[in-house]
Subunit: 330 residues, 2 copies
């Protein structure tokens, strides 16, 4: 297909258009995903998450720069950034975000940035993000940063797409760790205290270290991604580091980039890379199966039958579970 050749040849406009087709789940998008999928599996996927205001976007910009211009003599990587930005539609935030980013990183053909809006696709955001990441992977981007704004269950789901997950904190009031409130600390491979020049950075770092220590003491093993299908102790060899960065001036970002590379090496050597890959694909397959089964069922059931059941439910004549039985076991 013409558009696929263009994407593989590195044409940015063709790539942007294909991502739109894929995001909108059009027939062209689906065909493109099928054609490109054999070329996926090479990129290092890095999730970056944390509460609003921790400076994640600036940090990702710095990391993109660090992987474009490595100081240790390694090869520059092609870098893509997927910003999952559930910004309110009326602020135009996603678009503005793109513009600001473009200004920082523009002119470099080795960097591609894509913002995704969550609006209008409840529950499907993780799946659409997975598809977008696959296209970028196939298009030859070797480092793909997946940045999520906010801190909730959907952010955790999206972080699960990644090989390496960074959880970003910034110094707050006292030892108030935002990420622990939102339950996202447990998905971290690397913890980052950004804005480390601000008052309270030491307190935040100590609080994170204490939490890591506590987790070890409680569970007898390292705080790790809770992945029920993964082998026990898969990451016994990885010590979660707490890194300090100042994204506005770039301090600490080369060291953070090095830690990301170390984690990649660890994943490859321990076999965890492949485990995470398979788990990610299994999750994606199950999500697709679930939505396809429901869509097919919806097509098969007469509209009036569904509406009658809903009316009985609204009248409290039957419970939701009884409504399901009525519709599936007639």
């Amino acid at each position: 297909m013409e558009n696929i050749d263009a994407v593989l040849a590195g044409e940015r406009l063709a790539l942007a258009r294909m991502l739109t087709e894929v995001e909108n789940d059009t027939p062209q998008g689906r065909a493109a995903l099928n054609a490109l999928f054999p070329r996926t599996g090479r990129a290092h996927l890095v999730g970056v998450t944390g509460a609003p205001g921790t400076g994640k976007s600036s940090l990702v910009n710095r990391l993109a720069h660090a992987f474009r211009h490595p100081q240790d003599g390694s090869e520059p990587a092609r870098v893509a950034v997927v910003a999952v930005d559930p910004t309110s539609p009326f602020t135009g935030g996603a678009l503005l975000g793109d513009r600001v980013r473009m200004r920082d990183l523009s002119g470099d053909p080795g960097i591609f940035i894509r913002s995704m809006a969550s609006r209008g696709a409840l529950g499907g955001l993780a799946m659409r993000t997975a598809a977008v990441v696959q296209v970028l992977d196939a298009a030859g981007y070797e480092m793909i940063f997946i940045e999520t704004v906010g801190a909730g269950q959907s952010e955790v789901d999206i972080a699960r797409l990644a090989h390496t997950t960074l959880v970003v904190e910034s110094p707050g009031a006292g030892d108030d760790i935002q990420a622990s409130k939102a339950g996202i600390l447990e998905i971290a491979d690397i913890l980052v205290v950004n804005k480390a020049d601000r008052p309270g950075a030491d307190t935040t770092e100590r609080a994170l270290q204490a939490m890591l220590g506590q987790a070890q003491a409680v569970s007898g093993k390292h705080l790790r991604k809770s992945t029920p299908d993964a082998a026990e102790g898969e990451t016994a060899g990885w010590q979660i580091p707490v890194m300090r960065t100042i994204a506005v001036n770039g301090e600490g970002t080369p060291e953070l980039a090095a830690a990301i590379r170390s984690h990649r090496d660890y994943l490859k050597e321990s076999g965890t890379w492949q485990q995470r890959d398979e788990m990610r694909l299994k999750n994606e397959l199950d999500s697709l199966l679930q939505s396809t089964l429901f869509a097919r069922w919806q097509e098969s059931v007469p509209r009036e039958r569904y509406q009658q059941t809903l009316d009985l439910l609204a009248a409290r004549s039957i419970s939701p579970l009884q409504a399901v039985e009525r519709l599936l076991d007639n």
Copy 2:
């Protein structure tokens, strides 16, 4: 059933036990939901959401108190609080949260507090919360606060359970509105600036007012819950207020409680109460259908067949979409 009678008679221990059964989706829990469902539909469900650190829990405690001890001569309501608290398991945060709350509100049999942890139930949190709320509704709690920590898509999903949704902000750096970043402003019926005695409260309030104005200008109607199934203009009569509170000393909370009552009156008079009720039940029915269809399919498919497909997928021999076709269209 004995346990149902005990719950309806107001026995708190029986209620707590039943909620555990319902949360764990046990056969007893399912039977209880079926038996209790005809008694639901009376409670006013109030969602309270916003970024971590905005003081939502303190605010909900104050509101619970305000509805227990109304100053306008109205009847005291029985109040339940469902705290959806995806706190990291190793901190014991949910349990600790309960204890702190209990200390504030203890000794009042008209208040019931329940914390839910998100851990281990990816994607199912909104459904489990809906079930817990139904039991509390049937048990006679007239005001049910559903408090979500964090700010992401799942929090939006949970807020959709409510008749009235409060989005809480606190003064931050400049006009930095956390909720707008996380895309949750659009679900608000009432906006709250908590910690209104802190510097920057005026700026935060003005920024929220400006966003409301902008939304009206852009869309030609009020910023509203985006509910595709709802009639257009359902809430043309509701002006989203921006309220100021200081939860630590209770300032502004009686006024906020009055605004919640006004919203309830508005919903009842405009017919929107019933519309939201039906939409909530439709969402719950569809989620249940989706998970049931998938569970039944999983039971029907031979394990080796699924594993073979997964192996082909991991080898990049077939794409996720082709894997779905292979499994469903054999």
